[in-house]
């Protein structure tokens, strides 16, 4: 597919802006001298180019997207309609409070609702994504210990099954990462945990259900061990879809956490963002929250908490994403919220049980909203890897599960169906997996060279990294 630059014709343009109605400013400052290499195209060129690009992009609207740890549920269109109201889009972030009572009101209501759902007391909407939320939460923990002059606590405990953002965030917050091994079932090894906690423990980062999709039954003990050692417990909320309305992180003993609005609360992923990663905390941490929090009853205002860690982002966070999530929240409400978890868990277990006939499930227990399968056996016996099976799914119009995560399972495929998928769709995945297995037995080369129906074959990632071509360069250069 041609790049937009290759459609460029010198002098071609749209007519977007008017002539000036005031005298020309005469800037004396140093001017740009390099030619401005933007494409010169017509609106027609743009429409066609990006139509072609969209068609070469698999969205949730194109089919099943059971990408584990990503909660690729259906994104209701009413969210987008709400977020496109001019009363939200055309608001300057530095308007005086009395002119943004709707925005602040929405933040206040969203905060109250999400606090009730998570068992937290207060929440900031500044973080723009899950990882950003982790970083924020860890700074809260740091501020807490500092405020108590408990300065030697410089370690964050992270299970080896954790998402990569957890250790990375801990380091950004200036912590040393203590990795603890998971038990065979992906759950926290209490002994190992007891062994590492101490008066240098700042806190623990954990997600429950864990990254293999299992609910850690010892969760109260885990958080207690950390608390007893003087550490705090951070909850990675990426897996909230599994427990929403059923179990609350606050009740499991967590002190702060982030939520991925772009997962559990159905705001679209946008091909990689923007998301939003609000951070909730228990009351004792609320004074440290970053950004501006909604306060007041009739006259609402945005107020910076007293001992705030500062600002995680300019302005009020990804507000239009919050608008989407809020529309979703009020639509589902009290009765709808727990249905999410129930159906997410049911769909995952249905798939797990149905696929267990052909594929090896390293964990036999009831899973939560997702489960991990291991292709170790297939790799050994037919030389067909998790990657090969994933690629073969592409030919069925199905987006593959997450590959090779969590790291503690070999040849992992991590399947998260979400609650918005129907039995028929799940059955189509079961069918595809089954056919792929059978085909792999019969003709492994076919699977190993999949996909066969996509617009490109497997890309050469190695040479991409070895000889990085990161921008278009015109032929004549």
């Amino acid at each position: 597919m041609k790049t937009i630059f290759e459609s460029s014709v010198k002098g071609r343009k749209l007519t977007l802006l008017p002539e000036s109605d005031v005298p020309a400013a005469d800037l004396k400052a140093a001017k740009r001298e390099t030619p401005l290499g933007l494409p010169e195209v017509s609106e027609n060129d743009i429409s066609r180019h990006f139509s072609e690009m969209a068609k070469a992009t698999h969205g949730v609207n194109d089919g099943f997207y059971p990408l584990g740890s990503c909660t690729m549920k259906y994104n209701p269109k009413v969210n987008d309609e709400a977020a496109s109201l001019p009363g939200f889009t055309n608001i300057h972030p530095l308007q005086p409070d009395h002119t943004v009572q709707g925005c602040i009101g929405l933040m206040k209501e969203a905060e109250a609702t999400l606090c009730e759902i998570t068992g937290m007391d207060r929440m900031t909407f500044q973080p723009a994504a899950g990882a950003h939320g982790e970083f924020t939460g860890l700074l809260l923990i740091k501020a807490y210990h500092r405020s108590r002059h408990d300065l030697q606590r410089n370690k964050i405990i992270v299970p080896d099954s954790a998402h990569g953002t957890n250790p990375a965030s801990a380091v950004m917050a200036g912590y040393e990462v203590i990795n603890i091994p998971s038990q065979e079932d992906g759950c926290v090894d209490l002994e190992a945990l007891r062994n590492v906690v101490g008066d240098d423990t700042a806190g623990l980062m954990l997600t429950n259900p864990n990254t293999v999709g299992l609910f850690d039954k010892n969760i109260l003990e885990i958080t207690e061990i950390v608390h007893k050692a003087g550490g705090l417990c951070y909850y990675d909320g990426a897996n909230l879809n599994a427990v929403i309305g059923i179990v609350r992180p606050g009740d499991m003993g967590f002190d702060c956490m982030h939520i991925n609005l772009h997962k559990t609360f159905s705001t679209p992923h946008g091909g990689g963002g923007p998301g939003a990663g609000p951070v909730g905390c228990k009351a004792f941490l609320a004074d440290f929250l970053p950004g501006m929090l909604p306060e007041g009853d009739d006259e609402l205002k945005l107020v910076k908490p007293e001992k705030s860690i500062g600002m995680m982002k300019a302005f009020n966070g990804n507000f239009l994403i919050l608008v989407r999530a809020y529309a979703y929240l009020i639509m589902l409400g009290r009765e709808g919220i727990p249905e999410i978890a129930k159906n997410a868990v049911l769909n995952a277990n249905y798939l797990r049980v149905m696929l267990a006939g052909k594929y090896v499930m390293p964990y036999k227990e009831t899973c939560m909203h997702e489960f991990v399968m291991s292709l170790e056996h297939e790799k050994a016996s037919m030389d067909v890897t998790a990657m090969d099976v994933a690629k073969a799914l592409l030919d069925y119009g199905i987006h593959p599960p997450t590959m090779y995560f969590p790291l503690i399972v070999h040849e992992a495929l991590m399947v998260e169906p979400t609650e918005t998928e129907s039995k028929e769709t799940l059955d189509s995945l079961i069918n595809a997996f089954t056919e792929i297995y059978d085909k792999a037995l019969e003709d492994p080369e076919y699977i190993k060279s999949a996909p066969h129906k996509t617009i490109i074959e497997r890309p050469d990632e190695v040479s991409a990294a070895r000889h990085p071509k990161l921008r278009y360069i015109p032929e004549d250069k």
Binding site: D21, L27, I91, K313, F315, G333, M354, L470, R471
Partner: protein, 439 residues
């Protein structure tokens, strides 16, 4: 109650049985009683879509949508072409995840590749990432790119936007990073003071162009000063201004960052916005976040993939260059379509018109009694004036006419902004009202 559950009650029962469970209670039986909520959430009852949209409309109506906006300070009311909104609303772009599966994500990947190219063109730098959260976090991430064992402190010009400085401070608060903010002098970076604090422990000097007060810095000289001290030079730039001002690349900067909101995104009460980051070739492997590269498939077709992943958290974990995972992809797409629609002439026009209107506004305000605060400095689309009355009184009067005036600063001055959307007529009206207030 609203619901997006696909399966009917009957189907749910069928699936429960098929999976070997009697009921939902059975399915959740493994969750310890002690942590179960065991009650209904104490939140409102669910609504139908019709009620939701009505309620959202009611909330939106509680906000004041100003017809005429003369406030910037990091969020700008530039014109957004219809084609931009059309393209970025395409369901495929909106609903896809990060393009992990290249074979079915070529469209997404290619547009990121185009975005990277555009950002390099705009800033005159060699390489770009696929976006970070916003301009302020981009600036903060640039510090981490520059920091090493020996150089751990940061020098920031006091003309950088306060919000950006705040975010840098917060980002740096976890790891010992000394931050020196050098107070501004007459609305510009105090070059001498900056040179005086740069030393062998300085990782980088951060400067904003045009600066927070709208003034144009002498970036070349500041770059030289930074490099003379062995520090990196980071420029935080207005992407629209890049059409006319000397670019970071031309100034010799090591890293360029900035807020991309002006490139087709609505103000949206502060987000989602777009943090862009470009760098000189030698800093490529320090860039945080996603990067797309061109390669070939097994048949030799040109194609695109996420690349240089060895920098990233999912591979390197605690050794990653940053923790960033989701970025602002759809905003990057927005900028890509915006820049394609404007083209070189259009972007120059947007820049030129903004400057023209701002200069006209400044002259007229000066005549009306609002003296320029920094008359010696040259500015682009923002500028600071004195305000002979309390700024609040002026703002209240303007608000009655659906005008959002400039941003009142702590020192009683006002930071004004104009873009191509402000007409002469609107400016004259604003000035007339302002004059009345001080009479």
């Amino acid at each position: 109650m609203g619901s997006f559950i696909a399966n009917t009650d009957e189907q749910q029962q069928e699936m429960l049985s098929a999976a070997g469970y009697d009921s939902y209670d059975d399915l959740f039986a493994h969750i310890p009683e002690a942590v179960r909520l065991g009650r209904d959430l104490s939140i409102r009852r669910g609504l139908s879509e019709m009620e939701v949209i009505r309620e959202m409309e009611n909330l939106a109506e509680k906000n004041t949508v100003f017809k005429h906006i003369f406030r910037g300070a990091g969020s700008y009311d530039h014109f957004i072409p219809s084609i931009v909104k059309e393209v970025v609303a395409k369901e495929e772009f909106v609903t896809a995840y990060t393009p992990y599966q290249a074979e079915v994500s070529q469209g997404n990947l290619q547009t990121i590749f185009e975005y990277q190219t555009l950002m390099c063109e705009l800033t005159g730098m060699d390489v770009s990432n696929a976006s970070v959260y916003d301009g302020a976090t981009a600036a903060a991430e640039s510090v981490f790119m520059c920091r090493d064992r020996k150089r751990k402190s940061v020098v920031i010009s006091g003309t950088v936007a306060p919000a950006v400085i705040d975010v840098i401070r917060t980002y740096c608060s976890g790891r010992e990073t000394e931050i020196t903010v050098v107070p501004a002098k007459d609305g510009l970076t105090d070059k001498e003071a900056v040179s005086a604090v740069l030393d062998s422990g300085t990782a980088c000097l951060i400067v904003q162009q045009p600066n927070f007060f709208g003034n144009i810095e002498d970036a070349d000289e500041l770059c030289e000063a930074a490099h003379a001290a062995g520090a990196k030079f980071v420029m935080s730039v207005d992407p629209i201004a890049m059409a006319v001002l000397k670019t970071p690349g031309e100034c010799g900067a090591d890293i360029a960052v900035g807020e991309g909101q002006a490139l087709g995104m609505p103000m949206g009460f502060g987000g989602p916005y777009l943090g862009f980051m470009t760098a000189a070739q030698k800093m490529m492997r320090q860039l945080p976040g996603r990067i797309v590269g061109q390669t070939e498939d097994s048949e030799g077709n040109v194609c695109y993939v996420l690349t240089l992943q060895a920098r990233e958290q999912h591979i390197r974990r605690e050794k990653a260059s940053s923790n960033i995972c989701s970025n602002e992809a759809l905003c990057a797409l927005t900028a890509t379509v915006y820049l394609s629609a404007l083209g070189p002439d259009g972007l120059k026009q947007a820049a030129g018109l903004s400057a023209d209107k701002a200069h006209y506004l400044q002259q007229e305000l000066a005549k009306a009694g609002f003296a320029p605060a920094y008359p010696q400095a040259e500015f682009f689309k923002e500028f600071v004036t004195e305000c002979p009355v309390p700024a609040d009184r002026l703002m209240a009067e303007l608000e009655k006419h659906s005008i959002l005036g400039g941003l009142p600063l702590a020192d009683g001055k006002i930071l004004w902004c104009a873009t191509e959307k402000n007409t002469k007529e609107d400016i004259d009206e604003l000035v007339r009202l302002a004059k009345e207030v001080i009479c």
